[in-house]
């Protein structure tokens, strides 16, 4: 697939890397602040699955950063290109909708993983972390990033103005990622909310990711994998159809 896909991927990665202070350093700092505050308040008071709170929190912050930044990457790139009009540079060449999708989503995964890696490096000192089953870490980071990257493609194509995209981000992505067990185990929730959390796919991304560190989790990592993979498959089909139809890109 040398050509359109690899160049678009390269361009998308270069785009965020050129403004890394804003796209990488800033979210790492934000995650670090969460860690400092919550661990100061809760360390020594709370243990989850027998794990000290700070250690429990770190993987949550890492995957939350992966997800939020994956979404931010594809959505903000697309809306900027649409608003400024330079989207024509990728619409005029012979790039298929499949290549278009793969490049934007993969670049989102890269951004998510770079930020997630940064958060991990910055927070590693605060608590001892096991890497019990590292394959789960990688699988859920990549799949979670891909899901949010696809959502970012959808939002970026749908939104016509920056405030519409901000609404998508603030009222959907933020609550979904915050209320999915980043800061707590869903088992500590009242039964109703516990039940509800099990209908939230982001819960499985976070739970499965955390399983990779501690070997324990609220749900089985295999169940989480099934849910997350199914979500990605559905989103892929949906996004590809959207792109194929030319929705808001090719009138």
């Amino acid at each position: 697939m040398r050509g359109g896909f690899s160049t678009l991927l390269y361009k998308e990665v270069l785009r965020f890397w050129k403004v890394a202070a804003q796209t990488v350093a800033a979210p790492v700092l934000t995650a670090l602040l969460y860690l400092l505050i919550f661990s100061h308040v809760l360390e020594g008071h709370v243990k989850i699955h027998g794990i000290a709170y700070t250690a429990f929190l770190i993987p949550g912050l890492v995957i939350m950063s992966v997800l939020q930044n994956a979404f931010a990457n594809s959505s903000s790139s697309l809306i900027q290109s649409k608003v400024t009009g330079n989207i024509v540079f990728v619409l005029l060449p012979p790039i298929s909708y499949l290549e278009f999708f793969a490049a934007y989503v993969l670049a989102a995964v890269v951004r998510g993983c770079v930020v997630g890696g940064g958060v991990l490096l910055a927070t590693l000192w605060f608590a001892p972390l096991g890497f019990a089953e590292p394959w789960w870490i990688l699988i859920f980071a990549v799949l979670g990033g891909a899901i949010l990257g696809s959502l970012g493609v959808i939002a970026g194509i749908w939104a016509e103005k920056f405030d519409q995209l901000a609404a998508f981000q603030n009222f959907l992505i933020m609550p979904l990622t915050f209320l999915s067990g980043v800061f707590y185990s869903v088992h500590s929730l009242p039964p109703f909310w516990q039940q509800l959390s099990h209908w939230n796919p982001v819960f499985y991304m976070i739970d499965g990711f955390r399983h990779g560190f501690f070997g324990v989790s609220d749900a089985s990592p295999w169940l989480s994998l099934a849910v997350v993979a199914a979500c990605f498959a559905i989103l892929t089909v949906f996004t590809l159809n959207l792109l194929k139809s030319g929705y808001k890109l090719r009138a």
Binding site: P93, I95, R250
Partner: protein, 302 residues
């Protein structure tokens, strides 16, 4: 030899607006073709349909015999489009923009050609500059360069000289002419009719989504415009001449078809006792053609 562009019965509607109405057009390889019309006539929609940015409701479009929908990859390789809007990607330098654009077309090592384009467009000294730092005219040049990275045989320029200074216009036209002489087909839309008259060997005029005139530039000029004898005189024109004449700003304009009619006209003016204070010969111009075609019925198509 297949035509460079073949447009068959293409229609496109945006809501209640019929942007294109059964447009049919063939442009031969090597032509320098002008697409003219007032704002909203459908020029940009037609170009967008050709480039795959807009999907026609019906009809077919082919570039170098490649269907723009069914065989879009091949069709887009044949086509270079300079968009009307002054768009750029603020994250990259001029050279990066051109390298990335090359990559989209699957061209990996394109620096020799990129250097040549930069040189021809007077951009060499700006190659490393970020796009944000360039003036409007320079950004326009980069847009032209981006359309050429894949050496397309067909080049479409959508109002490339809107708001552009004289120097760039001349540089640009000299370069585009060289490309045309080298065999590239050029399609141009512009509001500067003297540019179209000077450059294009054939012209289509669009009005409300329809082609209302399509002919060689010289035929259009002959059919819709004429030479005129323009005079300033010290008294009023005699009645028999006035019937065919028009007056504006103190100048009388008397149309004629052949130059040997000038003597007769002048003799009649003198015979009426008019003293001529100033005189010039007006050539047929595209502006007059344009105005008359746009005012007239859509009968110019042939």
């Amino acid at each position: 030899m297949s035509p460079a562009i073949r447009i068959e019965q293409v229609s496109k509607r945006f809501g209640s607006v019929q942007a294109l109405d059964r447009v049919g057009l063939e442009i031969n390889q090597g032509e320098f073709f002008g697409l003219l019309g007032p704002n909203g006539a459908g020029k940009t929609t037609l170009i967008s349909a050709l480039a795959g940015l807009v999907r026609a409701d019906s009809g077919r479009l082919r570039v170098m015999d490649k269907d723009v929908q069914a065989d879009y990859r091949a069709a887009r390789r044949q086509l270079g489009v300079v968009p009307q809007e002054l768009v750029f990607d603020p994250f990259f330098s001029v050279r990066e923009s051109l390298q990335i654009q090359s990559g989209y077309f699957g061209i990996v090592d394109n620096d020799a050609w990129i250097d040549e384009i930069l040189e021809n467009l007077g951009l060499t000294s700006k190659a490393g500059a970020n796009m944000r730092m360039l003036s409007g005219g320079m950004k326009r040049r980069v847009l032209v360069a981006q359309a050429l990275v894949h050496r397309p045989p067909v080049i479409v320029l959508d109002e490339p000289t809107a708001g552009v200074d004289v120097e760039l216009r001349q540089t640009l036209w000299a370069f585009i002419r060289r490309l045309n002489e080298a065999g590239h087909t050029i399609v141009l839309t512009t509001h500067y009719l003297e540019e179209a008259e000077m450059l294009c060997n054939r012209i289509a005029m669009l009005k409300a989504g329809r082609i209302v005139a399509l002919d060689t530039t010289s035929n259009l000029l002959r059919r819709f415009s004429s030479h005129s004898l323009r005079l300033r005189i010290d008294r009023s024109l005699p009645d028999d001449l006035r019937a065919a004449a028009t007056e504006s700003g103190g100048w009388w304009s008397l149309p004629f078809d052949a130059f040997d009619e000038v003597e007769t006209l002048l003799a009649r003016v003198r015979a009426a006792g008019c003293g001529i204070t100033e005189l010039e010969i007006g050539k047929p111009d595209l502006e007059e053609v344009f105005v008359r075609v746009m005012q007239g019925s859509p009968s110019g198509q042939d």
